[in-house]
């Protein structure tokens, strides 16, 4: 048992932080949030050079990158690519290296096979960052049941219509296909298992991003509390301020522990991993929302203006809270497993996890 990052993992995290801090200071992020697309189109080649799409990144490494991305609201479609789309590519033994996202067309998109190959017809109401990516991974219905396809956003008959979105750095879009040519990625008989794994991987990376969002908001609030003076002293020296920040820190640390644990367990495909992912999502999502709210409270009149960057973090936290991609309310799944579980003595003595 050794729950610490390796030196290599630490180096990956540091490199990611350096890269993001250099390219995406808060004011730049705010400018992108108000610009077209809400993300930086040209950043992809540099991300590839930095190794963010390497095929040897494990779940823990991806978790660190997602955390750092959350911390500064990394304004590229990297998260939708690795958290939503790539897990399906992985299930097919492929590696995604173009900006991508996932469209859940189960029940609304039909895939039909013709001599020219598969085509998709139907629509998906809200797809994250569909307007900013080049590749769509689409869950669609075939005569043999649900399967997973992939197509280019420039394909014939594909219309992407950007919607007004709470978090303008991760915009939602309506996607319509009308006989759009697509490639079969996961066959119907393997689609359910692929979706199960994709939800686990996506859940870990959602939790990881939420941890980063919380950590980023907390950092801003702590910096403000150290420097802003009221009544002749820094506001961080008031217990009413300091203790709120401490509680946000507690939430964030618990969430971080849960996210790293879930990442490791998913990587090692242990039985306990589904529960661990749900727990990480539960705690991390609420840590993100609560910490952003605390940070705004601490930054006061400044924090509630449009110009101050913090509301972007809160919007992302609310986005993460509302994103439906990983199934129903995790509370109930967690409770169900707890109340159904066998005698605790059945646990093998080698694993502290799984209880």
């Amino acid at each position: 048992m050794d729950f610490a990052l390796t030196d290599e993992q630490r180096a990956i995290r540091q490199a990611a932080r350096d890269h993001l801090e250099r390219h995406y200071p808060p004011l730049r992020v705010c400018a992108l949030a108000e610009g077209p697309g809400g993300s930086e189109a040209g950043a992809w080649p540099e991300l590839i050079r930095q190794g963010w799409l390497d095929d040897d990144l494990g779940m823990v490494e991806l978790t660190l990158l997602a955390e750092e991305s959350g911390r500064c609201l990394h304004p590229t479609p990297w998260w939708t690519t690795v958290a939503l789309a790539a897990p399906y590519a992985l299930a097919a033994g492929e590696q995604l290296t173009v900006p991508a996202t996932f469209a859940d067309g189960g029940g609304t998109v039909r895939a039909v096979r013709s001599p020219q190959g598969w085509t998709l017809t139907g629509q998906v109401a809200a797809v994250p960052q569909a307007g900013a990516v080049r590749c769509l991974v689409v869950h669609a219905d075939t005569d043999q049941g649900p399967a997973v396809f992939t197509c280019d956003t420039g394909s014939a008959g594909l219309v992407v219509e950007e919607l007004s979105t709470l978090d303008t750095l991760r915009r939602m879009a309506r996607v319509r296909c009308d006989g759009t040519p697509a490639r079969l990625l996961v066959e119907p008989d393997r689609a359910a298992e692929a979706a199960r794994t994709a939800r686990l991987r996506g859940g870990v990376l959602l939790a990881a991003e939420a941890v980063g969002v919380a950590a980023g908001a907390l950092d801003m609030a702590v910096a403000h509390a150290r420097q802003r003076e009221q009544f002749g002293r820094p506001i961080g020296s008031f217990q009413a301020v300091a203790h709120q920040l401490t509680e946000a820190y507690v939430d964030t640390e618990l969430a971080r522990s849960l996210a790293y644990r879930a990442a490791w367990l998913v990587q090692h495909e242990t039985e306990a991993c589904a529960q661990a992912v749900d727990e990480a999502v539960l705690v991390a999502r609420s840590a993100a929302v609560r910490t952003c709210e605390t940070a705004i409270q601490i930054t006061g009149g400044m924090g509630v203006t449009w110009e101050y960057p913090l509301h972007r973090w809160l919007r992302r936290a609310l986005w993460l809270e509302a994103y439906p991609g990983f199934g129903d309310d995790p509370h109930d799944r967690v409770a169900e497993r707890l109340l159904r579980r066998a005698d605790p003595d059945e646990i093998t003595p080698t694993a502290p996890d799984g209880r």
């Binding site: 809200a126 919607l163 007004s164 979105t165 709470l166 978090d167 939602m172 802003r228 009221q230 009544f231 002293r233 008031f238 009413a240 301020v241 709210e293 705004i296 409270q297 006061g300 009149g301 400044m302 924090g303 509630v304 203006t305 449009w306 110009e307 101050y308 913090l310 509301h311 809160l314 919007r315 609310l318 986005w319 809270e321 509302a322 994103y323 439906p324």
Partner: protein
């Protein structure tokens, strides 16, 4: 003790309710009011006798008790009506002038405030002051023989972009201790050196303004109260605001809660046990808040001062409103990801969810208010701030 309206109150309420029903047939929370519509609305209120309800008759008011003002704010909130465009003139500046103004100031401003011809804004807050309200930096330099020149920045001023005049606080005695050396002035917003620009809030709305003052001139006749006694004038202005302010907030929250219930039905969450539990607790506390407001009002009627319990109204209101808005957004599930025209209710709850975070900050942060309650109500020793 009587929890029902007395006959005169009941008649007032019934008449007002009829009037509102004909004037505002439906409550559409996402409706936005243009300035012209607001001016029309305010003129109609004044014409119908719903401006200056508690003002003394000698100044053109109806001379009624705060209980009638409470009925007015409850019924207008219920009907989804906007504020009178001159609410600051009516509720804050007018009473301040009645208490502290010269006869000339009263004659010059009060009739226009009442009719809605003369619009007012207020300039107390400053960016560097924050919670430390008395840390005013705007300077009033003596301009002999008979005036001052104002320099500085005011923030969070509602209606400043429409206002004709501003009641503001500036420092006339720069060498004196923080709470001294402050003076209250009436400033003509059209004077040279007054620049107003909108302050955009975190949800994109611009309910407030910034006022930049560069050698803006006021005359000796524009001083309210005495030179150097501005802090106590400002405190009395804020106290006027607070009289039925708690009731106003609560009445709006009651209307907001009704919208939440409407949303629960719309999204089909009536049977969700977690939602039901939260609704029950929110409603119970909201009623507690409402009746605490009535207790405070009854104390005000008896002693001229709101009761100690009034100090908690804003504190609790802000937390409840935040919970109501958070629940409303959560109820929408994935639809909460959208905004504006693509979202339910044209993004009303998205805007409210974000905007409500300011509730625990504006008009006294919760941290400051808790300190005030601890010290003045519970009698705890002052914390070493």
């Amino acid at each position: 003790m009587n929890l029902h309206d007395d006959p005169a109150e009941a008649a007032f309420r019934a008449e007002l309710r009829d009037w509102l029903r004909s004037r505002l047939p439906d409550d559409d929370p996402s409706r936005t009011w243009s300035t012209d519509e607001l001016r029309d609305w305010s003129r109609d209120l004044s014409t119908a006798g719903y401006a200056g309800i508690t003002w003394p008759k000698e100044y053109g008011g109806r001379g009624l008790s705060a209980a009638y003002q409470a009925i007015f704010v409850e019924e207008t909130a219920r009907a989804g009506a906007p504020d009178h465009i001159n609410i600051i003139g009516m509720n804050m500046v007018g009473p301040t002038l009645i208490a502290h103004g010269t006869d000339e100031q009263k004659a010059r401003y009060l009739p226009g405030i009442l009719s809605g011809r003369t619009l007012f804004c207020q300039g107390f807050s400053e960016p560097d002051a924050g919670s430390d309200l008395a840390a005013v930096r705007t300077s009033a330099r003596r301009a002999e023989p008979d005036g001052y020149l104002l320099d500085g920045e005011k923030v969070w001023s509602s209606y400043a972009h429409l206002a004709d005049h501003c009641l503001l606080l500036a420092r006339t005695g720069p060498a004196e201790p923080k709470h001294q050396g402050l003076t209250c002035f009436l400033l003509d917003m059209r004077a040279p050196g007054v620049k107003v620009s909108p302050l955009r809030q975190l949800n994109g709305d611009t309910d407030f303004n910034q006022i930049i003052l560069t050698d803006a001139r006021v005359d000796d006749g524009d001083v309210v109260g005495e030179v150097g006694r501005g802090w106590s004038v400002a405190l009395s202005t804020l106290a006027h605001e607070r009289g039925t302010f708690g009731i106003t907030l609560t009445a709006r929250l009651v209307a907001q809660f009704d919208r939440l219930l409407r949303l629960v039905h719309e999204v089909g969450a009536e049977k969700d046990p977690a939602v039901r539990r939260e609704l029950a607790m929110l409603h119970a506390r909201l009623q507690g808040l409402r009746y605490t407001g009535y207790r405070s009002l009854a104390a005000l009627r008896r002693s001229g001062e709101p009761g100690a319990e009034s100090s908690i109204l804003k504190l609790e209101w802000s937390l409840l409103h935040q919970r109501v808005c958070a629940l409303a957004l959560r109820l929408q599930g994935p639809a909460a990801l959208l905004d504006g025209g693509d979202a339910a209710w044209h993004g009303y709850w998205q805007r409210q969810r974000l905007r409500s975070r300011a509730n625990t900050i504006e008009g006294g942060t919760s941290e400051i208010l808790r300190g005030i309650v601890a010290e003045r109500v519970l009698g705890l020793p002052r914390s070493r701030q």
